[in-house]
Structures are given as C-alpha cells and as structure tokens.
C-alpha cells in the first residue's frame, strides 16, 4: 500500500547489481545490529549475497525454501539479467512466496517484514523469499470474552495466524484483505478486512481513507488505531467494537461490517459499531433463542443498574422518601442511624473504594490475587459496616452495582457506566431524581448524537428501523431473520431467501395441501 511510503529507508535507486554497494548500504542502515545477516553464497557461477534478520527468520523455512533449492542448482547455472532471474526463481522457488524487487528500499522493507533477500552479482534485481519466523503464542481460548458453548479459539499476536482464522471461517472469494503500513517508527502491518458486495462500499471507503490518514509514529494495539479513526473521541462510549474472538469478527463481517486487524495484538476491531453490539454475546446465537433473548434482557437491565442504582438510591434516600414503602423506609433509615455521612458521601466513598479494588485486582500479579478478596470483601465491606461508617444497604447497592457492571459481555463497555455513574451520583445528591433524570437525558442526547462511520450509534432504536428489531432486544430464531442489518446499509441485503421453520406441517392439513409422508389413510 502506498501509505507505507514514508517509512521506507534506503535509496530508491534501481539496484545496480554490485554486492559491495549493497553490503555497504545495509551496514550503514542497520549499523551494528546483531541480528543482521549478510551471507555470501554461490549461485551457479555468480557471487550472491543472502540478507535476512536473524530474529524474525525461521531457520527451518530458510533452509527449505532458500538454501536447499540453491544447493540443487547445477553449478554451471548462469544468471545474467532480470529476466533470467525471474525464470530461475519460478523454477527454483516455485510454490514458496517470493517477490522480485528492484530497489534497495524495497529490499529493506521486505527484510523488516521477515523476508530473506538474495542479491546476485551483476543482476539489477533481487529476490525476496518469505521466511518469517520468531516467537509466537499458540492459539488459545480468549481470556476476555469467555463463553460456555461455541468455538474456543482466540486471536493471537500474529497477524497471519489471525487472518487464517478468519479465512477458515469464511471460505468465500468475496473476503477481501487490504494491508496498510502504519507508524513511522514501528511500521506496523494493519489489515482492513471486509466482504466485497456485502459490506457497504461507502463505509469501506471511509475506513480505508481514515486508515491512510493516520500519521503517527507507533501502533501497538487496536486501541491506538481506534482513537485515530473514531468519529468522536470525547465520549465515554466506545464507538468501535474490539474483540479477540474470530467467530465474532466473522459474524460481523458477513453481516456487512468491516474489520481491522493489527499485527502484534490479539484484538481486532469491527466497524461501524452501534450501542446494541455491546449487549450481544456470540453465545446468544449458539444457544436457544429463548435463552439468548432472556440474556439480552438481563444485560440491558444490568447496564441500567450499573449506571443508575447508586444515584437512584442516593436521591431517593435524600429527597424522595415517599417513593419507598414505609416499612422498608423505616428499616433503611434505622440502619443509617449511626452513619455520620450524607448518603451521597457514603455512596462516593464506597464506589471509589470499589474502583480501587477492581483496579488493584486487574493489575496485581496473580499470585497475590487472593489477598484482594480478603482485604476487600472482609475488611472494607463488613468492618466498615460494623464500625458504623457505612450502612448495610449501601453495601448491598454497591455490590449489586459492581456485579451488574461485570455482566456486560464486552468488558471495555462497562467503562462508560463506571464513569457516568459518578456524575449521576453527584447529580442525585444535589438535585435528587430531577438531576438524575436530566443527566440521563443529556446522556441519551449524547448517545443520539454519536455516529460510528456514519451509522447513528443508537440505530436501530433511534432512528427506529423496524426490520432490524428481530435481533436487538430479543433474538428471533436464525431462520426468521432473512435480512442483514439494514442500519449498515449493506450492499447485499438478503441473508437467506427461503428459510422456514423446520417444524412439521399441521397435523390436520387443510384441503389441497399435501399430506405428510407415512400418514395413515
């Protein structure tokens, strides 16, 4: 891709064929680096030089693909010009990925990508053979999005492996992969993946444009890309979906979305993303639609809890006692009797404590993880209540809030409710329910104003799209949803034309309809 242009180093003059010159230029560029290998070879009667970076080259591949074929060449093989080199390569390296390159710049670029480059004395071209190797993790179960039933493989840090996981799931010629090189310092490979004639062309073009517009020095994770391509960064809500599940990415691809994969991270992002995507777990589709629908409901409910419960509690306890039934009110107030703080301070204390606990739990080495639960659960929870600093009800509220915030199938999404919760607690403490509801209105207004690659963030709820409702708050059986999500304006809208319920025809078919086979009479 042309976006890689500015990261390239080395001269862009055509190769002259002088090995000495090449060697000098490489030594200049790479300096004293230990892993640069410039090895002398003999190809036929010509001197040749094999260049590669030891650290990212697989020795076995190098032997198989380069050294063995060269060794089998007849000793009187002559390589005079570029044409001859091409023919030789076709014969010698046929089957393994190789590229003829013309400039030193390309040679350097290819070496950095894990190719081994062979220069031949007196030939104005070189051949690069793909021999990438180096450490990588095996495919494992994803750790951030676990499921009970369904595929257990997750993306790894290696881009090629990740792409292969997608290709194996979508065996279709329409699956397109485009590569970008981003990062002046890191030169990271970034792939844009989409389904031609399913995904909306406009969205793909926009993604392509935004990717090529990134000017930065380093990309280590999709998160870095995310902030460059998101429509709006000043928002607590994520506007792209990142996942380490290949099945989720594949499902998004065939529904008309595009995906971006970055070399070096097991997280892929898919776009455009709407609010509802974060309430969907891949497992919804792998189990009964009744259960899937029920779980959706639970998730929306717990999102509400995680967002509003402490603020509702604070405002009701502070301003609107009449909303609580009297017996309950008496017991709650009685518990609060000895508590020296107003409810809003109490809620704040507990929420901040919980956030500290959570952060400690995430960052801490696993070996000492158990300590957290003892210190957090026992000391802070029970002891605080017994010491009369916090009321029991508050602990219940905070605990329920905390558990609800873990329900989100997509962990990052809970940051939105975590951040907004504090704002709502303050509003609830100062203005009561009025403040909370106005805060919610502002939040919904903000959500309505968000867009992800042109698609309104709250679609298909606002703007309301009737055809998409079959997979939002509940999930209809797979055979019942015949169209791809309309909010994405897919190029190919129809998912399955003639799909019907597999249930048998009625027991007493009406006149004219054929009876089931094997029916008596």
């Amino acid at each position: 891709m042309d976006s890689g242009e500015r990261y390239r180093s080395g001269s862009d003059r055509p190769l002259t064929g002088s090995l000495e010159e090449c060697r000098r230029e490489f030594n200049e560029l790479f300096g004293e680096t230990k892993d640069l290998r410039l090895e002398e070879l003999q190809i036929g009667q010509k001197q040749a030089m094999l260049c590669y970076l030891l650290t990212i080259t697989d020795a076995q591949l190098l032997t198989q693909r380069v050294l063995q074929p060269i060794g089998q060449l007849p000793s009187d093989q002559s390589v005079a010009g570029t044409d001859e080199l091409e023919m030789l390569c076709a014969r010698m390296l046929g089957g393994s990925a190789h590229i003829i390159i013309q400039t030193n710049q390309d040679a350097v670029q290819k070496m950095l990508e894990g190719y081994s480059v062979i220069f031949i004395e007196g030939v104005g071209a070189a051949v690069a053979v793909f021999t990438e190797g180096g450490g990588q993790r095996g495919i494992q179960e994803p750790t951030t999005q676990t499921i009970v039933k369904g595929p257990k493989d997750g993306f790894v840090e290696d881009l090629r492996t990740n792409l292969s996981l997608l290709r194996k799931r979508i065996r279709n010629h329409k699956l397109r992969i485009e590569t970008f090189t981003i990062g002046t310092d890191t030169g990271t490979n970034v792939c844009l993946v989409y389904m031609k004639s399913i995904a909306n062309e406009g969205i793909v073009d926009e993604a392509r444009k935004r990717l090529s517009d990134i000017h930065t020095n380093a990309i280590f994770e999709t998160g870095n890309i995310e902030e460059f391509i998101a429509d709006k960064t000043l928002t607590p809500f994520p506007t792209v979906y990142s996942t380490e599940r290949p099945d989720a990415v594949s499902a998004h691809l065939v529904s008309g979305k595009a995906a971006i994969l970055v070399d070096g991270t097991p997280f892929a992002i898919t776009l455009p993303t709407v609010f509802n995507d974060f309430m969907v777990a891949p497992e919804d589709y792998y189990q009964s639609f009744l259960m899937g629908s029920f779980l959706r409901f639970i998730r929306y409910l717990s999102f509400m809890f995680a967002l509003m419960l402490p603020s509702l509690y604070v405002s009701v306890i502070t301003y609107h006692h009449e909303l609580i039934p009297t017996p309950l009110l008496i017991s709650v107030i009685a518990q609060r009797e000895g508590v020296p703080f107003p409810a809003v301070v109490e809620a704040f204390l507990m929420e901040v404590t919980f956030e500290i606990l959570r952060e400690a739990g995430v960052r801490m080495p696993r070996a000492v993880g158990g300590t957290i639960s003892i210190v957090g659960g026992l000391v802070i929870g029970q002891a605080a209540v017994e010491a009369g600093i916090i009321s029991n009800t508050m602990v219940i509220v905070v605990a329920l809030t905390a558990i609800s915030s873990f329900v989100a199938p997509y962990y990052i999404f809970s940051i939105s409710s975590r951040l907004l919760r504090f704002g709502l607690i303050v509003l609830g403490g100062v203005f009561g329910l009025y403040g909370v509801f106005l805060g919610l209105m502002v939040m919904v207004g903000h959500l309505c104003s968000l867009r992800s690659f042109g698609v309104p963030y709250l679609a298909p709820i606002a703007p309301f799209i009737l055809k998409d409702q079959k997979d939002i708050f509940f999930r209809l059986p797979v055979w019942a949803s015949k169209l791809r999500p309309q909010m994405l304006k897919p190029a190919g809208a129809v998912k399955q034309q003639e799909s019907e319920s597999p249930s048998p025809p009625p027991m007493y078919p009406s006149e004219g309809k054929s009876k089931r086979k094997g029916d008596p009479s």
Binding site: L323, G435, F437, M441, V442, G445, C448, P456, P463
Partner: protein, 382 residues
C-alpha cells in the same frame, strides 16, 4: 455567512415529536377542568376535532410550498417587510411560549417534588439541558424522543392498569353527561382547548417541511394529532372517574392527584414523583421545539446558523420563564385569560389562515395565467 445545515427527521420521528409535543404539558396541567368538570373528556374530544382542522391548515400550507418552512412561506406570502415583522413576532411568541411551558413544569416540580429548591436553580438546570439538546440539532432531538417515547407510553398505560387494579375508577363520577348543557363545554373548547395544545402545533411548521418522506408528512401529523387527542380525552375521563369532577376542577395538577391515589399491596404507592419525571420528557420536547422554532426564525432573519444563538437565547428563555409571573396563581391566570385570546388566536389561527388565503389566491392566479396564456391575462387586466 454559511448556508444553514438542513436536517431531516424521519416520519416516525415526526409522529413521535408531534405526539409528545401535544400531549407534553397538556396531560399534566389539566386545562379547562374548572368549567367543564365531569364533561372535560367531551371538551377534549371537541377540542381535538377542531384542532385537527387547524393542523390540517398547517400541513396544507406546507404542502402548497413543499420543502419550505414557516418563515420561508411567510416571506413568500407577505413580502419582505411584512414577513420580517411577522417573523420577529413569531420568534418572540415562540420564546415566550417556551418560557411558559417551562414555567408550567418548574412550578409542578417545586410544588410536588422539590419543595425546598429555588425556582431559579430548577429552571437553570432544565434550560441548560434544553440548550445542549437543541445545540445538537433537530435530528438528535428526534432520536432522543424516539428513545424515550416507549417509556412515556408504558407509564401512561401503567397508570390505568394500576388504577384498575386498585379499584379506584368509579365510572359514575362521569355522570351526569352534559348535566349543565353544552355551554360550559363550549366555553373551554374555544379558545382554550383548541389553542392548547393543538394550535401550538404551528411551531412544528418549522420542522415539518424537512422530513425524509414529505409525502407522508400530512397523514403523520394528523394521525399523531388524533392519537394525542384520544390520549388527552381518555386521561381527562380517567381523572374525573377517579377524583370526581369537583376535585379535578380544584386540583392544580389533576394527573398527579390521580397517581397519588394508586396504592397496590402497600408497596406500589406515591408514584407521582416518578410520573413527574416521565412527563418531563413531553415538557422537554415541547420546550425544545418552541425554542428551536424561535431560533430557526433568528437564523432566517440573520442568515447566521442558529447554533450561535442557542446559549444566549436559551438563558433568556430561562430568565423569561422566571419573570413572566410572580407566582403560580398569576401564571395560570395569564395562561387561561390572556394568552389564548391575545397570543394564541392571532398566531395560531389568524396569521396561518391569512397565509393560506394568500397562497390560494397566488395559486389561482398562476393557474389562470397558465390556462389562458400570459398575454390574454394581461389584456384582461388592462
């Protein structure tokens, strides 16, 4: 000077906006109860059917000039100077009504939910939210109301369900039907119930022209009006059935009094505070739309995008809502005695009817020119 951004809302959004706009404050305030008493629901039905004619006039005007909003049509019909005058008047009218609707709600809030909080604070908070939303634009407001309307409708239905479950509805309260004859009913129908809320739909002429399917716009507006008429009439009937005609007439916010009656298993009770906030959605839409209508007028006059005016004008509307009346009694007095006659009738009925007349004459002339050819028409005139 930049060309103003044209925002389009979908037909469903328009429906929701019209519905929330009309039901918005009308369902809370309970206008006309003082005179009509147990026949309030009949008055509401009549108000709706006559209001429907007004809405019909508005949409017909818009259909005659497709794609142009209230202000554009003003300038087409009345010429530059008169149109500017009318536009200024409309802007002031819209801002004033926005302030009035806001005051309706803040008074309700202070009486019922936050008795210790000063009016100024409550107003400021509300208007800041309105400012934020209107700044985001019409599309966002449309989507927001779309998101909230299910909650609104659910609560409206739940109220009935709870009242039935608690056996609070006594249908005999509705008797005698028309016990005092038609006079008290007619008295509240015009101008009070026609202008509020149906006539107020005039402000929607600013946005109704810009929908995704202009062909369906008239039908949508009329259907939404019928629905809100039905909801309003149903709820006034419900209020009377629960509280009795006299109580409804005396209560400031009859709906809240009704909701206070709900008590199920000593657990679900005192829902009025919650209902206030659900009703807030309707009020919010209404204030925002009036505010937006005025802002669009400023945009029309100055050719500066309306977003530049949002903050100063918004704060002005908030201030206005505080100073228009010294206390709630004065506010209601103005709303019943002065505003309908001196503001609503000219702006909602007289000017639109004039506009329609001018437009029809213009069209008749054009057709004649087309039919007889330009020269013959000229000869005739000479």
């Amino acid at each position: 000077m930049t060309t103003p951004l044209l925002e389009r809302i979908s037909i469903w959004q328009l429906f929701v906006l019209v519905f929330l706009f009309q039901v918005g404050s009308a369902i809370v305030v309970g206008a006309g109860a003082a005179d009509a008493k147990q026949d309030l629901w009949i008055a509401e039905l009549m108000g709706c059917s006559i209001g429907l004619v007004l809405v019909l006039i508005y949409v017909y005007i818009l259909r005659l000039k497709p794609g142009s909003s209230l202000y554009d049509i003003l300038s087409v019909t009345f010429g530059r100077w008169l149109a500017t005058l009318f536009a200024v008047l409309y802007i002031l009218y819209f801002f004033y009504i926005a302030g009035r609707v806001l005051r309706d709600f803040t008074e309700l809030l202070i009486i019922d939910v936050l008795p210790e909080t000063p009016l100024e604070i409550v107003t400021l908070l509300f208007i800041l939210t309105v400012i934020y939303m209107v700044y985001m634009g019409m599309e966002v407001l449309g989507r927001m109301s779309e998101t909230f309307v299910p909650y609104f409708i659910t609560f409206v239905l739940l109220i009935t369900l709870f009242l039935i479950a608690g056996q609070d509805i006594k249908l005999e309260n509705l008797l005698p039907v028309l016990g005092d004859g038609w006079d008290p009913v007619m008295k509240v129908v015009f101008p009070e119930l026609i202008t509020f809320p149906y006539g107020e739909t005039v402000v929607l002429m600013v946005i109704m022209a810009h929908t995704t399917h202009p062909g369906y716009m008239p039908l949508t507006a009329l259907l939404a009006t019928i629905l809100s008429g039905a909801v309003l009439s149903y709820h006034s009937g419900l209020m009377v059935a629960v509280l009795g005609g006299d109580m409804v007439a005396r209560s400031t916010f009859p709906l809240l009094s009704v909701v206070r009656e709900i008590s199920i298993a000593n657990f679900i009770e005192r829902l009025d505070a919650l209902v206030v906030f659900i009703m807030m959605v309707g009020i919010f839409v209404k204030v925002s739309l009036f505010f937006y209508g005025g802002l669009k007028g400023l945009e029309f006059l100055t050719r500066i995008p309306y977003r530049h005016f949002v903050l100063p004008c918004g704060l002005m509307v908030g201030f206005l809502s505080i100073i228009i009346a010294g206390n709630f009694a004065e506010h209601i007095e103005e709303g019943v005695e002065i505003v309908p006659v001196f503001l609503h009738v000219p702006f909602q009925i007289i000017i639109p009817v004039l506009m329609l007349a001018v437009l029809l004459i213009q069209r008749w002339r054009q057709r004649r020119v087309k039919r007889h050819g330009f020269r013959r028409t000229l000869q005739k005139w000479k």
